[in-house]
Amino acid sequence: MIAFLRLLSRNRLALAGGIVMLCVVLLALIAPLLPLADPDVTNTAHRFKTPFTEGALLGTDHLGRDLLARLLWGTRLSLMVGFAAAMIAATIGAAIGIIAGYFGGRTDNLIMRGVDMLMAFPYILLALAIVAALGPGLFNALIAVATVNIPFFARNIRGVTVGIAHREFVDAARLSGMSDARIILTEILPNVVPVIVIAMSTTIGWMILETAGLSFLGLGSQPPQADLGSMLGEARSALITNPYTSVVPGVMILIIVMAINLLGDGVRDALDPRLKSGALSRPMAATLVNRTGPVPEPKGNGLLEVQDLETQFHVKNRVYKAIDGVSLHVKPGECLGIIGESGSGKSVTALSVMGLVASPPGVITGGAVRYDGTDLIGAPYKHLREMRGKNVAYIFQDPLATLHPLYKVGDQLIEAIRSHYSISSAEGRKKAIDLLRAVRIPNPEKRISDYPHEMSGGMRQRVGIAMALANDPDIIIADEPTTALDVTVQAQILALLDDLRKTRGLAIVFITHDFGVVAQLCDRVAVMYAGRIVEEGPTKAILDAPMHPYTARLMACVPELGEGKRRLEAIPGLPPVVDNLPTGCAFAERCHKSQTACRGSDIALVFDTGRAVRCLFPDNPNAEAAQ
């Protein structure tokens, strides 16, 4: 709660809205205590006095009643009715929504049919019908506004409840012996309340507008009593001659509703966990670059050369060093593996190459990425875009999420080509079919007009590969392309990639967490931990005799097929969080060989006979001699 208020007050607009609202509510509350004229006493002798005249600060209306008094009393009424309508609609709507969403099946069906029926009316028709039946009056208008809003709440809350009711913790509660009523009250409701509050705070303003509207039509508050809506309604006939009688109540409604909307948005932002972490920002077309240090000189290593690359995530005032000084290179026809656990920076390394790290919050803060010698970091967007997919192409992890769900796979392939070359659609279609054939999709002439959801996971990933091949790139960066796939499908995809590399001379950078995959596919491998490369070298050499203790222990704790039932060699502790890295070796905390020197200062990546290791006490005695 305190955290919520703090978040809310940090939002300047919401704070302003809150202060305005507080003043309005306060004025409305103390209206009976203020030395105001009686709002309902008519005095036709003083009709239409202009504002700021003696005895009538805001002037008088067509019956000579004091506008200021009427305004404050009217505000009081409008606020009360608006809040009451919102409370009633939210309570009943939420109850209906939770019951329908939690129980599902027939109950849900029946309730939602009813709700759909009510929503089939443009809302005012229903409100008008209700008022017509109950007769004009403020209380009846309140009932009408609350009733027509119940379906909106019910539908919204039902959707949220369905999502929560299928979460695993609800199943767990059931297995803990809880009854349905108890689950609804203690498991579902606390998770739905924020949504109810959000829905309410964003609709109170709307409710006030609606009740004011009914009063404006003469169907709400009845004279002499007036809320803001009926004040405006009565003033309408004098709009042209005495506009201020309309402006006063109108501006008041505007101020109230705007303040409530600002506050409501603030409440929503403070309560929505996704917005809380600042996650709901759109990634820009290319990662931000803010290089302060010098740009490393080209060394002429391979086709793609990553030098001392640093990419960080700036979230509020925290800095997460996702990768810190990563250097890699890959030659044509070579396959380089990058292996590491989640958070080790392997994907960020891959995405940094073509500026695809989401930014905000990502920022490339140092190093260089050289393609054929030219630096891509900080290159103009136009240049980067031209190279994407044409020189360096990507294959991503989950093929269902990475293909556009609303375009046919053929069109997505053709678009990949057309982004770089202008070709006719017949040509495009022919090339797309060829590509699908190249990744061995059976019956490509037919499959080209499939949507992604009509394909199996393995087929979709082949489309992903075909798309990467579309412009004959020199380098393919594959970011865990088989992690979401079943083993039998994974085997096919790996074989396909290996085949393509051999026939087309592609360079592949393959990111994975699986040693088995690296062993089968990669010539060289780099092991990453906490944003840095800890060991690098030929795959076979590293797998046969790992030098860094982390590599050795990571290999040991993964069970391998064919070794039978056994106890695993677990690594104690957790990987460090990259916004608070220890000095020295990041693995020292968990390492059985660590000594005081390991925690002292930065440890360099030491190269020796084709291998490199970042450790003061590596496992292989030969490496020690070289130091």
């Binding site: 759909d116 029926m117 929503m119 089939a120 009316f121 443009p122 809302y123 005012i124 028709l125 008008l128 019908a129 008022v131 017509a132 039946a133 109950l134 007769g135 004009p136 303003g205 004011a212 509207g213 404006f216 039509l217 003469g218 169907l219 809506g229 405006l232 309408r236 709009l239 042209i240 506009p243 309309s246 109108g250 409604i253 509703v257 996650a279 709901l280 920002s281 759109r282 990634p283 695809l356 989401a358 875009r385 190279m387 994407r388 997919g389 044409k390 192409a393 990507y394 999420a401 990475t402 293909l403 769900p405 609303l406 678009e415 982004s419 770089h420 949507y451 959801h453 798309m467 412009n471």
Partner: protein
């Protein structure tokens, strides 16, 4: 596709049936009887009883309902007491005016709302985004009837750019240019709120979509940013926007009631408010059922549009 449309049309039948039940039941709640309303407070009890018999109001409720429903199905909505004219004729004529007003406003708010939302999302936290966000906030906070009144004051009275009210000039030709000049202010006033709602929704839907993996894929294959935003992202965002357009159409239709009053537009909303104040029950019943039925059919069109956009919806 034809099968899907047919299925949706069939599924609308129970909804339409439900609408007539709801409207009929609400009207049956009315205290007192329409005969008194028609004949006035000083009518003799004999006259009231006779009129009730003539109107079929002495029969059981269920029977009254089916008689009414049966008549509606053959296009007989009864006769308006106050206007002494068949309800359907009056409703059709008025609805025509409402359709021109609400339809124009709906087209305006859909276009402006979506464009503003996309531009806002594409420049998140930029100057354009902030300006649009502010204008949108103003738009959803202002009562449409107040906005309409202020527009009359400023554009019609002070600047004399547009006529103050009505749909046609009192004297002169009823041609398109006359209609447009009469339509401009009310249509704009009506469109403002819905534009705000659609712009807000489009912005958040776009922000959600732009974070998806397939947007990264599009960028990775080198699609120019314009294509990423206006083709890849907007198409996916439309899946969330289209249903809201359907709902907003209802809000535009609702807002039309106020605007018609403010601008003296001879539409169905003004007719309903007058009918309620005069307790002209048959006209209220007929008007509500007719407009609601049109809205149901419009929403079927929305669903069909949605299924054409999204191949994942089973047709």
């Amino acid at each position: 596709m034809a099968g899907y449309i047919l299925k949706r049309l069939l599924s609308a039948i129970p909804v339409l049936f439900g609408i007539t039940v709801i409207v009929f039941l609400i009207m049956a709640l009315i205290p007192g009887d329409p005969a008194t309303a028609i004949l006035g407070a000083y009518a003799t009890p004999e006259n009231v009883a006779k009129l009730n018999r003539d109107l079929g109001l002495d029969k059981p409720l269920a029977q009254q309902y089916f008689i009414w429903l049966g008549n509606i199905l053959i296009g007989d909505f009864g006769t308006s007491f106050a206007l002494n004219r068949p309800v359907l004729d009056e409703v059709l004529e008025r609805f025509n005016a409402t359709l021109i007003l609400a339809g124009t406003a709906f087209v305006l708010c859909s276009i402006f709302g979506i464009v503003a939302g996309v531009v806002s999302a594409a420049n998140q936290y930029g100057l354009g985004d902030k300006a649009i966000t502010f204008v949108v906030l103003l738009g959803i906070s202002i009562p449409s009837f107040f906005l309409g009144m202020m527009m009359i004051l400023f554009f019609a009275v002070n600047l004399r750019m547009f006529p103050v009210s009505g749909m046609w000039p009192i004297y002169g030709a009823r041609d398109l240019s006359a209609l447009i000049s009469h339509l401009t202010l009310p249509a704009l006033a009506l469109a403002v709120v819905a534009t705000g709602v659609i712009a807000r929704l489009t912005r958040s839907a776009m922000l959600e979509v732009l974070r998806q993996d397939y947007i990264r894929t599009a960028r990775a294959k080198g699609v120019p940013e314009r294509g990423v935003i206006w083709r890849h992202a907007l198409k996916a965002a439309m899946v969330a926007i289209i249903p809201v357009l359907g709902i907003q159409a209802g809000f535009v239709l609702s807002g039309a009631v106020y605007i018609e009053i403010v601008f003296q537009w001879p539409g169905v909303g003004r007719m309903l408010v007058d009918a309620i104040l005069k307790r002209d029950i048959l006209l209220v019943q007929g008007g509500v059922v007719f407009v609601a039925a049109c809205y149901v059919i419009f929403n079927i069109a929305v669903d069909v549009a949605q299924s054409m956009l999204d191949p994942r919806i089973k047709t």
